[in-house]
Amino acid sequence: MAWASLSDFLSMGGYGFYVWGSFLVFLICLVGEVVLVLNRRRTLLKQLSLTHEATKNEQNNETTT
């Protein structure tokens, strides 16, 4: 399929709103899910390293006292 011009491509034969409305939301959902999933993992890893540090400090305190 060859498009005559960029505006021809964007107008999608007059169905631009419907076609781009579908594809854009599709893209937003998939990218959004990736961001959310990675964020959840990053937050958890941060928490875990903090708790790990905390337990390590506790152990150190126990040995020194």
Partner: protein, 246 residues
């Protein structure tokens, strides 16, 4: 050579296996999405009936397929978790639900945007559309139920029962266009008949579907790994894992 399948039913060994698989599935998904989108917009010709509006098919059908497949897989893992009391199976089921709900939403959304120019309505209470909407509520219900129960193992079991009861909806969605007179068209691709569409359109649709599969697998693996860490944070292997990374 005997493969020890039970090895990977332990969250600890699954965790490292999944970590190796995620990049592979992600890269394959990205490449297939790019190829699929290129075919959708630059290779597939204009439809003689629907002009360019039909291009929505390249995401509508894969999203609708994924919504049903993911539900069956989710219910399958939930059932294994319920029957054999395996923690990991239930975690995978929990990890599948958000991705499944997202694809169900996308099937409904793209369907509405396709229905408006072709049928003149964003929404009709037709059997196919209504049963797909029920599928969306099943996913939401599954997630809400699990989130409402504090004990993860009890949440797994309650969710599994809900997921299994909901399986009855899948054949209803699939056969709705045959059983009832629906505004929604019949199956374009069927296992028993030759497809009723141009082969390049079919190729594009299949590539987009496989891309969605790879994407879903990657997402579910990442989410399962996070759930494993959340639930097993007090175990020795997680704290040892953590000494290595920090």
């Amino acid at each position: 050579m005997a493969i020890n399948w039970f090895k990977y039913s332990s969250p600890a060994s699954f965790y490292s296996l999944a970590g190796k698989l995620i990049p592979i599935f992600s890269i394959v998904a990205l490449i297939l999405f790019l190829v699929g989108l290129y075919i959708s917009f630059f290779v597939a010709p204009t439809d003689f009936q629907q002009s360019e509006a039909y291009r929505i098919i390249f995401i509508h059908v894969p999203a609708a397929w994924m919504s049903m497949f993911l539900y069956l897989i989710m219910a399958g893992w939930a059932a294994i978790g319920l029957a054999f009391n395996t923690r990991l199976s239930s975690m995978i089921a929990t990890a599948i639900a958000p991705t499944g709900a997202m694809f169900t939403f996308l099937a409904l959304w793209t369907g509405a945007l396709w229905g408006k120019p072709m049928w003149g309505a964003w929404w009709v209470w037709d059997a196919r559309l209504t049963s797909e909407l029920i599928l969306f509520f099943l996913y939401i219900g599954f997630m809400a139920l699990q989130a409402a129960i504090d004990d993860p193992r009890r949440a797994d079991k309650a969710g599994a029962v809900l997921a299994l009861v909901g399986v009855v909806n899948i054949p209803i969605i699939y056969f709705s266009v045959k059983w009832w007179n629906t505004l929604h068209q019949g199956a374009t691709v069927s296992l028993t008949e030759s497809p009723k569409m141009a082969s390049i359109m079919l190729t594009g649709m299949l590539i987009m579907s496989i891309a969605c599969w790879m994407y879903s697998i990657a997402m579910v693996l990442i989410r399962t790994r996070t759930i494993i860490l959340e639930r097993e944070r007090h175990t020795v292997w997680v704290s040892e894992l953590h000494k290595g990374t920090t």
